[in-house]
Symmetry: C2
Subunit: 120 residues, 2 copies
């Protein structure tokens, strides 16, 4: 019974990783969580190191998984923005947990001397 529970739990984690895994998706979701909607170029600038190609691909996948909604406005030229869906917002606790731990981790790293510093 314990085994069954475990494999089910592991599978649900694997499923989640397929949705939000990779280098960019969680960053995009976190951005949109703190500020929605955002335009394509706003996200691009906010992340700073993502290429348009990757941003476009990631947004498309997030949209297909219904975590992000894309809206197009018939202005001239066309303007587009992105926002979290309700389902996207339901990832809030994951983002907060990861962000909090990450901040703590960064502090931990800062206070450790680097290997290079030790070897000198």
């Amino acid at each position: 019974m314990k085994q069954t529970y475990c494999t089910a739990h592991l599978r649900s984690i694997s499923d989640t990783l397929e949705l939000i895994g990779g280098k960019w998706k969680l960053l995009i979701l976190t951005l949109l969580h703190s500020e929605s909607p955002m335009r394509f170029s706003e996200i691009e600038r906010a992340i700073g190191t993502i290429t348009p190609r990757m941003l476009s691909k990631e947004l498309k996948e997030l949209e297909q998984n219904e975590l992000v909604e894309r809206r197009v406005y018939p202005t001239m030229p066309v303007s587009v923005d992105y926002r979290l869906t309700d389902y996207g917002y339901s990832l809030g606790s994951v983002m907060v947990a990861l962000g909090d731990w990450g901040k703590n981790h960064r502090r931990r790293i800062m206070h450790q001397p680097t290997i290079e510093a030790v070897n000198r």
Copy 2:
């Protein structure tokens, strides 16, 4: 000021993803979170689809980042086990948040007809 806050937040998330990103690390950590210590072959069987090569590599990286501790016992043949460090356990809230969301997500998927079913 908001911009500063955001980029710092994004960087801490990127840092975290470098530690626990990828296909396997979170699965291994979650396993060890529910049961420590575990032996190499136990983890291998519990995950079911990981190759020894990958498991070895991932465990080594987790150990270098002080999330997992490796202990060797001078039996014959040598036996080894792995357990979470205290720092590893500090990721508990992240694992729980992700696992909970994943279970919910799996239920959501189950209740949606697949594309193939719709097209028939």
